[in-house]
Symmetry: C2
Subunit: 147 residues, 2 copies
DNA sequence: CTACGATCTGGAGCGAGGTCTAGATCAAGT
DNA sequence: ACTTGATCTAGACCTCGCTCCAGATCGTAG
């Protein structure tokens, strides 16, 4: 699982930002919103020190967000984890539901892709004809009826 | 490509909402934003009358939006079409760029899906073990407590 | 000691993409 | 004529997910 080659040394917020792709602003924001499982440790002076586990969790969060999970769901998931063992079924349900949504999303995107590809094809063909020596009738306004 | 079995009879905004999936609010909003190619016709009384071509365009818009094209790009595309023939190369470029973005999106989603699937697997296995007779540490009692 | 960059907090601000309200008008049924 | 429901306009408002400030503090390098 060693997602970040777990060096056991805690990381600063900037370092975590680098390796998660989240901004330091976003990291603080996530924390305020209760999206992290545990409270983040601090130095004597009050600076955040993230553990490897924190980073791993954040990397999961990033994937879930990328795939469109709303922060509210992420928060709920974090809460379940925070409460400790005993609610694994709920966690599974949450993830499973999301997984299905992701699959639907992929489906939808693939349909879109094919519609767009068809449109691209129409334009490409149009341009080919055009450049290849003007069978293009200048009196016809844009032959692409099913726009 | 009779997307809506083009009855040549113009449609009310409500009917268009039904067959595009956009709300009437969104339809008016899109119009204000200049996302439509032509100006929508009106009845004597001022009600919008959409043509089949309008609906076809909107259906394309819906696909482009679904696949994450920002309204700004949609607007630009509409402007190109509005200006008439002569800029097909630009239109093609716009669509082609979007198509590539959609493909990247699908890629990304598929990676997410596999990460999530792995997580789901972890929980499923955990639950299976748990229900099948507890290698699960019995000193950790069910985390349910009066919260 | 001094500088300088990174981080801290609380809260304001922002961009995208709509959504909703108010108050008026239109159109159709009875 | 009356009622009902769909539509009209302009503009205020909303959610989401951050982003950015101001002003203070920390921590390290010289």
């Amino acid at each position: 699982m060693a997602t970040t080659e777990t060096p056991a040394e805690p990381l600063s917020i900037g370092q975590v930002a680098e390796r998660t792709g989240l901004s330091v602003h976003a990291l603080r924001f996530y924390e305020r919103e209760g999206l992290l499982v545990g409270p983040v440790r601090r130095t004597a002076g009050g600076r955040r020190r993230y553990t490897a586990a924190d980073v791993d969790w954040l990397l999961i969060c990033v994937r879930l967000r990328e795939s469109g999970m709303p922060l509210a769901d992420l928060k709920q998931f974090a809460e379940l984890v925070r409460r400790g063992p005993g609610n694994e079924a709920e966690r599974l349900q949450l993830l499973d539901a999301h997984q299905r949504r992701v699959e639907e999303q992929i489906q939808a995107l693939e349909e879109c892709r094919s519609v767009i590809a068809w449109k691209v094809g129409v334009y490409a063909e149009h341009l080919a004809r055009d450049e290849a020596g003007g069978l293009w009738d200048p009196t016809v306004r844009d032959g692409l009826r099913p726009s």
